[in-house]
Subunit: 213 residues, 2 copies
């Protein structure tokens, strides 16, 4: 009658890291399907095929699982930003392409994006004390790659504002707004998504770059 718990076979002695990966995989899938706050550690453990306390051999807290997922996703974003920067030439077209890299990443990795930038961290700093600011640092890593691209545009004399930090923060905020709203409010009556993204990016470009006669 009662659901028979299917247990994954115990890992060989040095292979604990493998289980760790399985936990992260299961967590990511569950978070994608049901949202972050509605997924329990017991649900994660059941998908993996281990007992709930077994999770704590690999992660100190539940937040550490989400933090790890976030860090990994941002490693990918950093890669993409570096790729975008590798064949970057300071033109408006190339600049827009770089902005699109960020948006595409967010929409392709909505769960990682949520963890990194949209999750309540608790204003009392509880979260930070536990997992540190490694997830945010990972995000900032991507942010810095983005700043380098903005710097190239400024060096070419194309930006409207000479302060790279300020300009990057503004652009980042502009991109984040669209990504986070499309993720969090998917049921809002948006105009067609790709059109909206294109419009948004060119608005940001017009705002950021000098108006070349």
């Amino acid at each position: 009658m009662t659901a028979p718990k299917i247990r994954s076979p115990r890992k060989p002695k040095g292979q604990g890291a493998e289980r760790r990966e399985e936990i992260l995989d299961a967590a990511l899938k569950l978070f994608s399907a049901k949202g972050l706050h509605t997924v329990s550690t017991r649900q994660i453990a059941e998908v993996v095929g281990i007992s709930q306390p077994a999770l704590y051999a690999y992660f100190a807290t539940k937040d550490d699982i989400t933090a790890e997922l976030c860090i990994r996703a941002f490693a990918i974003l950093v890669e993409r930003m570096e790729a975008a920067r590798a064949d970057f030439v300071p033109t408006a077209e190339c600049f827009e392409r770089a902005l699109k890299v960020y948006v595409d990443f967010g929409l392709q990795n909505p769960d990682a994006y949520r963890v990194a930038f949209m999750v309540e961290k608790g204003l009392d700093g509880t979260y930070k004390e536990r997992v540190g600011d490694r997830p945010m640092m990972a995000g900032i890593g991507a942010f810095q790659r983005f700043a380098e691209i903005v710097a190239e545009m400024r060096d070419a004399g194309l930006t409207h504002d000479d302060d790279v930090q300020r300009m990057t923060q503004t652009l980042w905020a502009g991109l984040h707004g669209l990504v986070s709203l499309l993720i969090a409010r998917a049921d809002f009556p948006w105009v067609e998504r790709e059109v909206l993204i294109a419009c948004h990016i060119s608005l940001l470009r017009r705002g950021a770059l000098k108006n070349m006669g």
Copy 2:
């Protein structure tokens, strides 16, 4: 030894609505201090001076409390947007002022803003089933006032894009990005806040409006 629970005197018979207000007040204060997910119904009840189950005489669920707070805050935003529209003339300066109304509101009501646009609602739609989309509708109400302002700018032939919905969504996303990041990532090494806001708003204005000779 153990903390003596201080109980608020029972309300007279018709005065239940008064207790309801006290609950909302307590919840708002606690949410502001500790963040949404870390505040429990028991903590709210203790501040009010009643037992925890007594809350459920006034709100069906905890989410209903946050939803109510959100709706009320957005009523204020709608007021402010209407005020901004009342003495609105289609100029770049006035347009920027309207954008600033939104940003200021978000930063002055961070908790309401969080509930309305930044809280995980659960991808399975659990949240919506419970509290409905009244909080979002309240937010959309404000959005529509904003759209009216954009429409005035377009009618004056000042906007870069003729599609009001598209343009409003883009601008909204741009504003939301800044507000939400400043709220959720207060510890990020931002440049000076007021400067950043001013820069952001003028970037959006340049992107949105035609470049007048």
